[in-house]
Each structure stands twice: as C-alpha cells, then as structure tokens.
C-alpha cells in the first residue's frame, strides 16, 4: 500500500467528525460481533431445547424458570464483571453469599421480618466487600490472596453461625416473593431485581465517570493514577460493589430456597468468572461488558435446563459446560482477530 502524500504542514485539516470516530466504530463493531456470537450460541441452545423437548422447553413457565435460576448467579456476575474489568478478581463471592444468607436467616428466626432480613444480607455483603477492598486497596494485598482469605473465613463463619443446620425461613412476606401470585405481567420479582441490577450495572459502566475509571484502572493502573484517578479508592469501591451484589444475591437465594445454609453459593466464584470470561471480559482487565456477562450466565443456565429436561446426568452436564467455555472463548478469539 502506498503512503498518501502528506499535505504541507500548515495545511493539515482539522480532523473531521467523520474521520475521528472510525476507531471507536471498530470497537463498537467488535463488541457487537462478540455479543452476536454469544447470542448465536444462545439461539443454538434454544433451538436444541426446542427440538428435543418442544412442549416443555418452549413454555412460558420454563422461560420464567430459566431466568429465575439465572437471577442469583447473574447478580453476582454483574459485580464480578466490574472487579475483573478493573484487573482484579473476587474469589470470595460464593462464601459471601453463604455468610449473608445464613446471617440474614438467623435474623429471620428471631422475627425481625422482611426489612431485617434484607438489610442484614446487604450489610453483611457490603461489610465483606469493605474488608476485601481495604485489604486490596490500602493493604496492597493481591486480590487473589485477599479474597481467598475472605472465602475461607466467610465460609467458616457461616458454618459456625448455622452449626451445620439448615435455617428454614418462616417469615411469610419473603417467601411470597417466590410464588407465582407475585409475578407482575408474568415476570417473577427475582427476575426483575436481576434486570434492574443489570441495567444499573450497564449504565454505571458505560455512562458514568465511575465506569470509565474502572476501565482505565484495569487497562493501565499507573496511567490511570497519572491521569488523576484515585486508583486505591476506585478499587475499594469496586470490591464494595461486588460485596453489595453478593448481599442482594443472598437475599434472592433466601426467597428462592426459603432457607439459609452454609453450603449456599458453592462454586459461585467459578461460575461468575466463567460467565464473565465467555462474555468477553478480559481476565487481565481493561475490557468487558455487562451484556456479555449476562449472556454468559443465560447460556449456562439454559444448558443446565436443557440437560435436566432431557434427563441427562450431572456428569454429562459438567463435561458440556467445560466444552462450552472452551468453544465460546475460541469463537471469540476468532471474531476478535478477524475484525
């Protein structure tokens, strides 16, 4: 390709608006290809489900079911996506969900009612996030280690609180939220919470200074610091955000299962990371989308649903899950390199 002859120096035109957004448009296009490939995977799954079990799969009730099951892990994944975009990781999400759920249900057995349970779950989640954030941002601990320590201690504390028992919730108002009577226009309240968290997450990441700072910190923390971003405070807020999401997820799980158990949220950390990764979030930070992560969650939930409807055993399900992660990432590599 021949270089165009550059115009004389003093004749350089001002970059016109049509020229300037071209790299930006490429980014948009690439994000779209990524999103489209995920939508393609989801569509293929829906096709498989529809062919193998037309009556059961393509049913309003089943759609409600899939979205409800996706809600708890989905809310956790939104928080996780922020943390990973900033170049961090939160291994403690499952343990925080467990701790928040058992603490909140301990309150439930003491009859503090709806608000008591909700606020306990959220406060425990935010509290754990605060500890993570302070250790990482101001104690300069590696996120992997700090959140690993939180994973161990939160699970231990959850076991201590429950003494191994399943804490059944008896407060009616809460359980009603999981019942079909409380669906608004066919949408379960859990799914609404998931949708609201997703929309707020998308707005915060794409439309606020907080979101831009998150991406900047993940892209290059030193550059972000030189650009005047308080990187440490930003990190603190991100782990707080992740903890908050865990608290909300714990509350949803209490509605869903009607109880708190120390085994709640088992392996959520891996599910949330996997969903974010197949959603196109870079584990090294600097790039990621909320839409991608949520699609990742929906893909996993749909697979589980199709497998259960076809009465396949859990071993096959796990193998397929692994294959999907590999396939999705390979597809993304391809689409990313060709655009």
């Amino acid at each position: 390709m021949t270089q165009p002859v550059s115009p004389p120096r003093d004749e350089i035109p001002k970059l016109s608006p049509q020229v300037e957004p071209s790299p930006w448009r490429a980014v948009v296009a690439r994000a779209d290809v990524r999103t489209l490939s995920l939508l393609g995977v989801l569509a293929a799954l829906i096709l498989i489900g529809g062919i193998t079990k037309p009556d059961e799969f393509l049913d309003t009730r089943n759609l409600q079911l899939v979205l409800t099951q996706a809600s708890v892990i989905g809310v956790v994944t939104v928080g996780m996506t922020f943390v990973i975009i900033s170049g961090g990781i939160d291994l403690s999400v499952g343990a925080i969900v467990a701790l928040a759920s058992v603490w909140a249900t301990t309150v439930a057995t003491q009859d503090y009612g709806f608000a008591g349970i909700f606020f306990t779950a959220v406060i425990v989640g935010v509290g754990c996030g605060l500890v993570n954030g302070v250790l990482i941002a101001y104690g300069t601990m590696v996120p992997f280690i700090a959140t690993l320590a939180m994973l161990a201690s939160a699970r231990g504390l959850a076991l201590q609180i429950t003494d191994g028992n399943t804490q059944v919730v008896t407060v009616d108002g809460i359980l009603d939220l999981g019942e079909r009577d409380s669906y608004v226009l066919g949408v379960p309240p859990l799914v609404m919470v998931f949708a609201v968290v997703t929309i707020i997450g998308w707005l915060v990441l794409n439309r606020t200074t907080f979101g831009r700072r998150t991406v900047a910190v993940g892209g290059n923390a030193e550059a972000a610091r030189l650009a005047g971003i308080d990187v440490r405070r930003q990190r603190l807020y991100l782990y707080l955000l992740s903890g908050l999401c865990c608290g909300i997820a714990a509350f949803l799980l209490i509605i869903l299962s009607g109880s708190g158990q120390n085994t709640n949220g088992n392996l959520y950390e891996l599910d949330a990371i996997a969903a974010a990764i197949i959603g196109g979030t870079l584990l090294t930070g600097g790039r990621g989308t909320i839409v991608g992560s949520v699609l990742g969650v929906l893909i996993f939930t749909t697979i589980t649903n199709i497998f259960a409807l076809n009465n396949l055993q859990s071993d096959v399900q796990q193998i397929a899950k692994g294959a999907i992660i590999v396939a999705a990432v390979l597809v993304q590599r391809r689409t990313a390199s060709t655009t």
Binding site: D55, E56, D59, L65, G164, T166, S257, T263
Partner: protein, 345 residues
C-alpha cells in the same frame, strides 16, 4: 461459650446420676436443642472402668452430619466413665488421617471413626488395630474387615428399597404410574446404593415406571434448582423419591413455587422439618425413610462396651457384634409421633 457448655455438662451429669439411681425405665426430659436419641444404651448402664474414646468425625456442614457429632458428644457425656477425645471434623482425607494418627499416639482406648471416605481411610484403620486400639467404624465402611472391630451404620440400599416399596404400595392400583427420583451427590457410593435399592423395589410393581432421575448435591439450593427443572420436564407423575431431607427443603420450595400437588413425595434421612411437614400433612411430603444419626450414640455405647470388655445387654454373646446395620424405617403420618424426637435440625 464455656458457661453454657459447663451448664450443659452439669445437666448431663445430673441426668447420668439420676439414670444410675433410677436404673432403666425412666424417661428423660432433654432440652429441645439437644438431639434426642434412644435412651436405652446398647451396653448396660452400670459404671465400669474408665474408658477414653477417640472420635474422628466429619465436618458438620450438613444437618445429618451435624446431628452425628451432636449425638456422639451428648451420649459420651451421659457416661461418667467415658472421656471423649474429639478431633475437629474434616472432609479432607489427608487431614482426617493425621487426626486419627494423633488419637492413636494419644493412646486412646477405643476409636470411633466416621471417615470422609471409607476406602481412603482403611490404612489408618489398620494402623490403629495393629496398635491394639479397637476401631468402631461408623457409617462409611472401611475397605477391609481387618481395619475395624465393629461396624455400625445405616442401610442405604434398604433406604431405597423401603422408599420404593412404600411408593409401590401407594400406587399399586394405578395403571401406568410414573415415578421420579431426586438423588443425592452422584459421586458418593451411598447414592448409587440408594438408587439400586429403589429400582429393585420398583421391579415388584410392573405398573410403575421410573421416568426421570436427577442428582442434586445434598444442599437446599441444589434441591430447589434440580427439582424445579424436574417439575418442568415431567408435566405429570405420581410419586417422587428424594434421597435427602436437607435438599428436600429446597425441593419442597420448588414444588410450592410451581404450584404442583398432584403427586406424593417420600423423603430420606429424617430431618425435623420433614417430620413436621409429614405430621401437619399440608404438603406433598407424605413420608420419609430414616437414616438415623442416632447411630453415633450407639457407636459410643459400643466403644464403651469394647473398652470395658462387655457384651451387649439383651444378647447372649459375650462380645459385641462385628457389624450392626440400622433399619431404614418408613415414617409416615401414622407413626410420625414416635419418631419425631429423633428428627434432626
């Protein structure tokens, strides 16, 4: 909270003394948060020589396992002549081996072991036996009979068998009856045995067909998730057997959320919440098949008898038996009052 512990100790000390004074036949009034268990010990109650029992239990992250630990502890406290050396529960094989070795080094008189994995802990069982410490193997069985003096545990196959027969009897007049199974953790041997027993029992009822089986993970969360999908997959069926009452809490939630009540459900293990549901008879749960955690209390009885070289009262033999399998009774509305005190939280 040492204060509570000592107060509880006092309670049991008093209970043990009064039991000694009144001899057999008295009924105890245990406080509600203690696991109730059969008050007739396997060996006789008379104080004998001091016995130190080492107990290596599982990590109590599940209702039934927690009840196992509680049963062992409270039974040991009832005997003035028993000292219990208890290790921290663990699901990690290597850690549990280390704990048992520590108990061997401490030269306890008898060992009671509920292994996280029976096969993996066989070697350390052999080691204890060679060191002259008799081992009472609780529930999950060692690979070699040389690794234990006595085995006591539940009957997983029998659990499936009795659940299958109960369901079979309920549905025997129904043509083309459909049954589904919500199993426990599929990588545990006991889950396979429960399913085998269930299938064997159903063979006696040609009108019944098992149409679906999904494995959950013994947790409420997994029970809810798997059950809600089973309900979606099977628009009509007549009976459900759920392997575990803890995951049953979640399964019942899913059934409630789906608004289904067109089938009967049988649980497993014997949790308090399940028994209460059976008693109030306001849900699909009509029965549960027992897998009693009281076996831990019996294991302490047997260990004490071993340490004091006694037999079991009521049996002609001089020695305790080499193996004892508990019966997996079916608890339904008719007999739930009898079993309610053994329900674990």
């Amino acid at each position: 909270m040492p204060e509570i512990t000592s107060r509880r100790g006092l309670l049991f000390g008093t209970a043990a003394v009064s039991a000694g004074v009144l001899l057999a036949g008295c009924t105890s009034n245990e406080s509600d948060d203690e696991p109730a268990s059969n008050d007739q010990p396997a060996a006789d109650d008379k104080p004998g020589k001091q016995v130190t029992i080492g107990f290596a239990g599982p990590q109590a992250d599940h209702g039934w396992l927690n009840a196992i630990n509680d049963n062992a502890k409270s039974r040991a406290k009832k005997y003035k002549d028993v000292t219990l050396e208890i290790t921290e529960g663990s699901n990690d094989t290597a850690q549990q081996i280390g704990q048992i070795e520590t108990l061997i080094n401490k030269k306890v008189d008898v060992l009671v072991v509920l292994p996280a994995d029976g096969k993996a802990l066989t070697q350390v069982g052999l080691q204890a036996m060679r060191a002259g410490i008799p081992v009472v193997n609780l529930d999950r069985i060692f690979n070699s009979p040389q690794a234990y003096r006595c085995w006591i545990g539940g009957d997983n196959y029998g659990m499936g068998l009795n659940a299958g027969h109960y369901i079979g009897e309920q549905l025997k007049d129904k043509k083309g009856a459909r049954v589904i199974e919500l199993a426990g953790l599929d990588n545990l041997e006991l889950t396979k045995q429960r399913t085998q027993g269930f299938d064997a029992a159903l063979k006696n009822y040609p009108n019944i067909k098992k149409v679906a089986r999904q494995a959950a993970e013994f947790t409420v969360e997994s029970g809810q998730a798997k059950m809600s999908q089973l309900l979606q997959a099977q628009s009509n069926f007549d009976a459900l057997w759920n392997h575990d009452d803890d995951q049953g809490v979640g399964a019942l939630r899913a059934i409630e959320q789906a608004g289904r009540d067109d089938f009967l459900m049988v649980g497993g293990a014997g949790a308090l919440s399940a028994m209460q549901a059976i008693e109030s008879d306001n849900s699909v749960l009509k029965a549960t098949v027992l897998y009693p955690p009281t076996m831990a209390a019996s294991a302490i009885d047997l260990a004490r008898a071993l340490g004091q070289a006694k037999g079991v009262s009521g049996l002609a033999e001089f020695e305790i038996p080499s193996s004892l399998t508990l019966y997996s009774a079916v608890v339904d509305k008719e007999n739930v009052k009898t079993y309610l005190p053994t329900g674990f939280k």
